[in-house]
Amino acid sequence: MDLNLNPQETKFRDELRAWLQSNVPDDWERHRLSDSMEDRFQFLCAWQKRVYEAGWAGVAWPKEYGGRGASLMEQVIFTQEMAAAGAPPMANILGLALIGPTIVAFGTEAQKKRYLANILSGEEIWCQGFSEPNAGSDLAGLRTEALLDGDHFVVNGQKVWNSYGWAADWCALVTRSDPASQKHKGLTYLLVDMKSPGVEVRPLRQLTGESEFTELFFRDVRVPAENVLGAVGDGWNVALGTLAHERATLGVSAQIAMRRQLDRLVELSREMCRNGHRASEDPLVRQKLAQSYVENEVLRLNQMRAVSKIIQTGAPGPEGSILKIGWSEANQRFQATAQEILGPYAQLTEGSDLAIDNGAWSYSYLRARGNTIEAGTSEIQRNIIGQHVLGLPKSY
C-alpha cells in the first residue's frame, strides 16, 4: 500500500501540469454548452491534435506505435490531471480507450502500424459496432453477417447504439462469419472503413432528445480480409477484450465528472436558501451531500485499486463489472439527490433563464438513466460477477 507517487509518476504529473496550464483552451466551457454537436466535435478534434503533438496522447501505449510508453498509473494520472485542469475530453475517445488497446493486444504488426498513430492524433475517429436491435445485452446472439468472398468479407446487417457513429471514420465491428454457428462461436471482429459503399449512418434519438448515438446499416459492404482483428472465428474473445477495457476505464472519467458535479452542488447548496437558512445547513441536505461524497470516494478508491491490480496482472478482469455497476448506479442516485436538493429549479431545461447551470442538472438526470443500460446492463454485469468472479453456476 503506497499512494505516494513514485519519482517517475511525480515527474510525469509535474510536466503534464505545466503543459496543461499553458495549453488548456479557455473557451471549452462556452463550446460545451452552446455549440452544435458537430462544432463541439471539431473543437475536440483540434484539442486532441494539440495533445497528441505535445506527446501526451496514448500515455500507456507502446512508444513504437506513437504512445508514450508510460504506465497505466500514469494514464490514470493523465485522466485526473486533465479533469482537474478543466481540459476538454479527447474527441476519439473510443479509439483511445477501447479499440486502440484491443488492436495493441490482438492486432498484427501491420495493423498496429496502420491504425494506432491515427487514433492517437485523432485523424481517424472510431466507433464501435457491437449491439444489434435483437442482440443488446445478448452479444452472443448477434446476427450481422460477414461472409468470405475471395479476399473480402461481405457484411450485411444492422448495429445500434453507436456512440460517435456520425463522426466515425472507422468502425470496430463484431460479425457472424459462420452463418451456421451459434452463440459465441463463429464471430469475427472486423475493422471497417465507414466510407465503404453500403454503409449507412442514421441518427438514433435518445430520451434526452439528443442524437448522441446512431444506427449503422451495412448492405453488401466489402471489407478486406486483412481487416480481421485476431483470428477469423475468434471475434468473441477480441470483443471481450474491448468490453473489459470499457468497464475498466469508463469509470475513471465518470467518477471525476460526478465529483465535479458534487463540488458544484455543494457550492449551490451554500448559496440556496431554504426555510430561511442556507440549504447547506439543513441536516437532510448535509446527509445527502455526504452520502454522495462517500459513494464517490468508494468509486474512486475501487478504481485506483483496480488499476493497481491490472498493473499486477496485466489485463482487466471480470471485476470490472463491479466498477461498472458502481459508477452507473451511484450516478443515478447522485442525480436523484441533486434534483431533491436543488428543488423545483432543477427540473428546468436548457433555454429556460431560470434553469440552474443552463439546464445541466436536468440533462444529467435524464442522461444518467442510460448509465445502467449502456456498456452492458446492470443485470448483465451482475451475471458476470456472479458467474465469472464468484464462480456461481450460469443463471437463466
Binding site: D138, A140, L348, S352, E374
Partner: protein, 393 residues
Amino acid sequence: MHFGLSETQQAIKNSARQFLAAECPMPQVRRLMETETAFDTALWSKFAEQGWTGIIFPEKYDGFGLGMVEMAAALEEMGRALVPGPFISTVLLAGTLLDHAGNEEQKRKYLSAICRGEARSTLALLEQSASWDLDAVQLEGKGLPKGGSLPDGGYQLNGEKLFVSDAGIADFLLVAARIEGELAVLIVPGNAPGLEKMATPGMDLTRRLYRVSFTNVVASPESLLGRGERARQALEAALEVSCLGLVAEMVGGLQSLVDLTVAYAKTRKQFGRPIGTFQAVQHQCADMLALLEGSRSALYYAAWTLSENDPAARTAISVAKAYASEAYRDAGNKSIQVQGGMGFTWENDAHLYYRRAKASEIAFGDATYHRERIAQSLIDRQPSKREASLAAD
C-alpha cells in the same frame, strides 16, 4: 364498508379510458407536446362536453357535481393517457379557489366559464423561494388611492411568480399576493397590461411552466377573490384538491408504465427466451405492480377522506403524495431499465412518463415536504390513547 370504486365510479373511469383512447391517443400527445403551449382547444371542448371541466363543482355554476373519488377516477385515466394541458391548473387549482373564495358574481363569471370549458386559468403562487408554504408569498398588492387616475380601491402588483403552470394559455390568472401584510388572492386577466409570461421549459414535455412578471399590473377592486383567513383557507383547499388530482394522474401514469413494461417483457427476446422469464426482469415488474397498487390504495383513501371532510384528509393526501412521488419515479426507472436500449429511445413512451413523474414529484411539494407535514400530525400533537392504537381509524 367497501374499499374500492363503486360500480358508478368504475363506470366513470371506464368511459374516461375509452374516451381518451379515442380522442387523445399517444400520437396526439406527442403532437401536442411539440406545440408551444401543449394545449388543444378542440380537445378541451370535448373535455367540457364530457363534463370534466366542471366535474367537482355545483351544477348551479354549470358544474357536474361529482365527488373527489369520481374526480380521482377520471384523473387516473388522464394520467394514464398522459393528457397534456391545463386540467389541474384550470379546473382543480383555479376552479377550487373560485368555488371556495368567490362571491356569487365571481363564481357566475369565472367558475362557470371554467365549467363550461370556455376559460382556462391557473394559480400564480410560488416565488423565488419555490416554497409551497403560504407564508412564503411576498408579492405585494399595493392598495391604490381612491380618486386617482387608476380604479378606485384597486391594487397594483409588482413582482414575479415562478413555476406557474399553463400561464401561457390562461384567460385569467389567480394571483396569490399580500395586501397590507395579509394573504390575498386576486383575479388578473391574462392580457393585463404589465403582465408578462415567459415559458420556462422543464423536463415534462406535456405541461408548461411559466415565469410571470408583474410590472405595475392593476387589479380592480372586484378582482379581489378574498383576503386574510378566507384566502388562506381557499388556497389550502385548492392545493389539497389539486394535489389529490395530481396523485390520481400519477397512479394512472404508474399503471401505464406497468402495462407497457409487462407487455415488452412478454414479447422481447434475449438469450433465446422472453426477457420476462428472467427473475431480474420479472421481479422488477412485480415491484412496479406493488408500487402501483400501494399508490392506488393511498389515493382512494385520500380521495374518500377529502370527500367526507374528514380531518384525516390532510395527512392522507400527504401519505399518498409522498408515496406516489417516489413510486412513480422508481417505476419509471424500472420501466426503462427493463426495456434496456429500447427504453432509452425517444420513440419509446416510457420517458414521457418518466419526465411527467419528475414534474409531478416536484409539484405541490416533494416527498420530503409531505413527510414533514405528516411528522407534524404524527409527532407534534399528543394523540389520545385510543386514537394512537386504533390503527384502523
